[in-house]
Symmetry: C2
């Protein structure tokens, strides 16, 4: 089983210039730990779901989390509005995890070695420098646990 | 919407003394970014999926990832055997992310603030010091994007 065959069935990729809300929707809909951000089909960075969550929190609450408690439920209901007008590029952390990049013909042990070393929840699968898929850590475990019927 | 209502429908919790393979199966089956490890029903640590992936890789390959390429497919097929005989406690990283712990009545903004600050992919929801649920970052985004129909 090669990396390309291990890749997720759904897109876990978002372009740098896409609206931030698109990234949030992809993460939510497919329950992903993060997305691979691309720049002209080349993998560029990893956007962890916890980083997108960060943007649901007003800056003054990030600075003083105890303020979150005094915000009303109404505020909480409109948390996602904070993503309006932002792009995926605006969300990428400056100190985020390094993106794991693997080749389409890498084996499961090669993918696991790279993912583990970078402590990254996902790996971009590339062929001729272009992204052809994404493997999450949980997908890799799924493949490892069922080697004979996938 | 309070933290307890936001929690996942399935267990994302594993006791410290459970077999390591149980943690791998939970992560794989529910496609989780990580699990909350408990000690007598109290949240103790976070076990990221990428950390479990690390144990699929033989030590000599962790030290020299280029060796992974020369391992045959047969080796790759038995990667999960490396978890045999280990417990969840054996897998917990010494330098892992700090576990986010929230109260059952915290709001979405409070949960988001804590999760974002700790860069943790999941939060343990506690009531009277005992774990009552787990919220993943993607679940939180799902809740934020659909405030009115969940």
């Amino acid at each position: 089983m090669h990396a390309e065959q291990m890749a997720e069935d759904y897109p876990a990729v978002v372009p740098l210039d896409a609206p931030a809300i698109d990234a949030a929707r992809l993460l939510a809909e497919h329950r992903l730990p993060g997305l691979v951000v691309t720049d002209r089909d080349k993998p560029r960075a990893v956007l962890p779901a916890s980083q997108v969550v960060r943007f649901l929190v007003p800056t003054y609450v990030q600075d003083d989390p105890s303020l979150a408690h005094v915000l009303g439920e109404n505020m909480a209901d409109h948390a996602a509005d904070a993503l309006d007008g932002k792009t995926v590029g605006d969300l990428i952390p400056s100190k985020g995890p390094e993106l794991a990049v693997v080749n389409a013909d890498d084996t499961i042990v090669e993918v696991a070695a790279i993912m583990a070393r970078l402590r990254c929840p996902l790996a971009a699968v590339v062929s001729d420098e272009r992204i052809v898929g994404v493997i999450t850590a949980s997908r890799l475990l799924q493949t490892a646990l069922r080697p004979h019927d996938v």
